[in-house]
Amino acid sequence: MSIEHADLLCERCDRVTEHELHYAGRLLESVRCTRCGHQLSMTHRALVPAYLHDLEQRVASKPQRLYHRALRDPRGFLRTLPGAVLRQPAKFVREFWSLVRR
C-alpha cells in the first residue's frame, strides 16, 4: 500500500485541506481529510473486483511498457530488470494482503 498527500476540497470543512490517500496497487482505496478526519473508502465488495480488473490491464500492458523502457535505455533496463522481477512477488503479496485484511 502506498500513501500520498494532496490538497483537495473537503466537503465537511468547506475549504481546501490536506488529504491522505491510500492506494492498493494503483487503485485508490481511501481518502481522509487530515483536518476533520472525514474519510471516504471503497467498500471491500467494490474494491476486489475493481482491483482484479485493474490487475488484468496492468498485466496486459506490461510487455509493451517493458519494451518501451528497454528501447529508451537498454543498459539501464538490463541492469534493473533482475531486481524488478525479484521484487514483483513481494509487491503483489503486499497488495493482496492490503486487500484481504480490510
Binding site: 500520498e4 494532496a6 483537495l8 485541506t17 488529504h19 485508490l28 481518502v31 475493481a50 496486459a60 518501451h68
Partner: protein, 245 residues
Amino acid sequence: MLAAGEGRRVGHDTNKVLLPLAGRRVFTWAVRWATTLPHVSHVVLVIRDGDQDSVRSALARELPDTAVTVVTGGASRHESEWKALCALRPAIEGGETDVVVIHDAARPLASAELFRDVIAAAERYGGALPVTEQPALAPLHDGGAQVTDRTVAVQTPQAFRAEPLLAAYTAAEREGFVGTDTASCVERYTDVPVHCVTGDARNIKITFPEDLFLAERLLAKADWDLSAPESRVPHRRRLAHGERG
C-alpha cells in the same frame, strides 16, 4: 495544459494534478489523449513553481515520446495562460500554429474526441468551448424571476484561433486586465465568436476526494482508453492477439 493550480496551498503542499490515477499522474492522462490527434504539434505544460522535478520525472516515465515544453505559471489562471502563450508566440507568429487549445490538467478524462471537436469548431468559428446542459439549475434574475435561457456548465478544453488569442492576451497584458477564463479575455478584446460544442459528462474536474474514485471508475469503464474511437482496440482483444499495451 494548465497544471499550476489556483495558488491555494495547505498541508504538504502537493498539487492534485501530480496524484496517481490508475497508474499515471493525473496531468499526463489528458496530454496523452490530446497528442493522439495528428494535428496537435506543440504541448506546453504550465506548472507550479516547486513542481519542476516531479513533473519532469513523470513526463520522462509516462510520456517519453512526447515533446512537452514546461513553463512555470503565475499567480492566476490568466497569468499562467499568458505564460503559455508567450512560449507559443514564435510558433504562432511563424504560422506553424493555427489553433491554441487551453485545458485544465485537473480534467484527466478529456477524450481525444472532445479535443478534436473543439479544435474543429475553433477552426470554423474562431473559438470553441465544451458545455454540458444543467437542467437541474434554475438561474434567477436579481429580483428572483427565473431566467428562461438554458443553463450550461462550461468545461475545458477550450480552443481559439491562435492569432486573435495572442492579440487578446497581449492587449490584456498591456492594460492589466485579468480574465476569469480564456473566453472572457477573448470576448473582451476581439470580436471572435465563441461556439459551444457538446461537452462530455465524464470530463470531470478533480476537486473533491470522491472525484478521484469516480475518475478511476470511469477510466476502467472506458478500458483506460479515451483515444479517438477509430484508433481504439480493447485491451482484452490486444491481449488475445498478442498486441500488448
